[in-house]
Symmetry: C2
Subunit: 323 residues, 2 copies
């Protein structure tokens, strides 16, 4: 069985592809035998079962070529991230909205009803009308994005739901928490600092935190996110009911608590490499996201959260050693 | 000052144009002196200040031609209605989504920041996850449309909000209740029956009600909706705060209560012309809409609801006599 992953060159996409081919996902009783990654860059997973298609996901012809008779699922992870979509509105609209719609149309044209896993984001939320959205945010609360990225993701959620309701795809929408600790370098996500303030000090480098120490963040480790994406892909679509959008589990941790955990795990010298330099543009986006969501339904459906932030740091250090 | 109205040939658009030219809207201290109607058909308002542009609102060139140096506002009422968008998905996407985006892009290209009034709908709502959304529905509750029309309107809401946040337009999104009593003939809206069961009996004709008598509907008269749209257009955008979407006031009335009011206003013989013939397709759409919304914020902002359903019938009969 064949699965298409957009954003397969990204760190999350590559981990998802690795997990899919490791037999972690069984779709209708069968294992995944072949994966196509679509991304601007080639997929870093070295496995003969991975085909890398390098190109623009907003190109419908590219998508049609990637889908085959044995395709059973599309995992749509590719996106222009938050700060970048804020800086370049038209690019965000093209990649985050038009390409999502193009993918859904390609799936609709496929003879089978394909599973469609859409990575949405916490960023669909903004502050409440009173600027004080009570937290954890109830599942019925609607998106009020304060970034174009969030608006484009919220639109994608509506599209995947309507395409699912009509039977064009079998959709699953996962709103991802902020993922920490991302390996590698900072990216153009407004939340990039949340990884930097752990990753850089552990590597002996200085890091800058652009938001207030008391800001609560809604966080998940890469391991938990990948396990939850696999779970979302494998469970029967009907178990989600009429509404295919899920808030993926996270944990609520303030920046100060993150740094305390860093000190417990790596010592005070490591922690001292983080300094605070407020950045209004980053703060305006990140502080608009809720610090906690009601996840009783996803937990009942078998999704899982990390134990605590210390465990997230330990997992990052283990993964860094083995990769 | 010039205002563009899409859907100006429709009954609501024509009434809005009439009200605009009657001096009911003062925009930044100036009266409306010129209106362009864009619709497939010509605008029925006979007034030398109205220019009718007949054509497809999804055609960007048409929109660009309609906007002038003196344009201050675009009122976007044109839509493919609910049952029609359900029957023809691609038509609904093109008119309800692509044309809305095209209009917003045309406004973005205009040298002034134009007011953008978007007629959304109660249809953005669907049943809650438990199928029992508590009513009246709180303002924070998010769209979960159970129709493509509702999904397309919910997407339009997100676009207007993001274009407003970025300063491309000065948007105002009004979620219209089901409008009764519409004059003329039934249309392809799933809620068309709500007008038919009053209008046809009053005209001596039989009418069919496709939903249960105990179904609560969220209703507004055409008069109240037009007055509220004018109010939405004229108030300062800042008074809406960061989130430009408003649930326009309505009243909660069951079908049975509508028929009781009809009997009070016109007698039992008139009422007896309505018979019940359940229609599952209509019921699936209409019963998914909430029967009541929390409107405390719009009422505080000066929007108004009808007194009761008897008043709605009386207003319809008065309007029918004078038109």
């Amino acid at each position: 069985m064949h699965v298409v992953v957009t954003g397969g060159a990204g760190f999350l996409g590559a981990r998802l592809i690795h997990a899919l081919l490791a037999g972690e996902a069984t779709l209708d009783g069968e294992a995944v035998t072949r994966v196509t990654s679509i991304d601007l860059a080639p997929c870093p997973v070295e496995d003969a079962r991975v085909e890398s298609v390098a190109g623009d996901i907003a190109d419908p012809a590219l998508i049609r070529r990637a889908l085959g008779e044995d395709t059973v699922a599309v995992c749509h992870l590719a996106a222009v991230v938050s700060a970048q979509a804020e800086a370049d509105f038209d690019l965000g609209m093209r990649v985050n909205l038009d390409a999502t719609r193009g993918l859904l149309e390609a799936c609709r044209a496929h003879p089978k009803r394909l599973r469609f896993l859409f990575a949405s984001s916490l960023a669909v939320f903004g502050p409440g009308l009173s600027q004080e959205l009570s937290q954890p945010v109830a599942e019925a609360v609607g998106p009020r994005p304060r970034s174009s990225y969030g608006a484009q993701k919220a639109i994608g959620e509506l599209l995947v739901n309507d395409y699912s309701r009509r039977g064009f795809v079998d959709g699953r929408v996962c709103r991802l928490p902020t993922i920490v600790v991302r390996p590698g370098k900072p990216n153009q996500a407004a939340s990039s600092f949340a990884s930097s303030i752990i990753r850089e000090p552990l590597a002996g480098l200085d890091a800058v935190c652009p938001v207030d120490a008391q800001l609560p963040l809604w966080l998940s480790s890469p391991r938990a996110v990948v396990a939850n994406l696999i779970h979302a892909l494998t469970l029967p679509g009907e178990s989600l009911g009429d509404w295919r959008t899920l808030n993926l589990p996270g944990i609520t941790v303030t920046v100060a608590e993150m740094l305390e955990a860093l000190e417990r795990q790596a010592g005070s010298e490591v922690r001292s490499r983080v300094r605070f330099e407020p950045d209004a543009a980053i703060d305006a986006i990140v502080a608009s996201w809720p610090g906690g969501l009601d996840i009783s339904r996803p937990l009942a459906l078998g999704f899982r959260a990390d134990a605590d932030f210390d465990a997230i740091i330990r997992a990052y250090r283990e993964d860094a050693l083995t990769s």
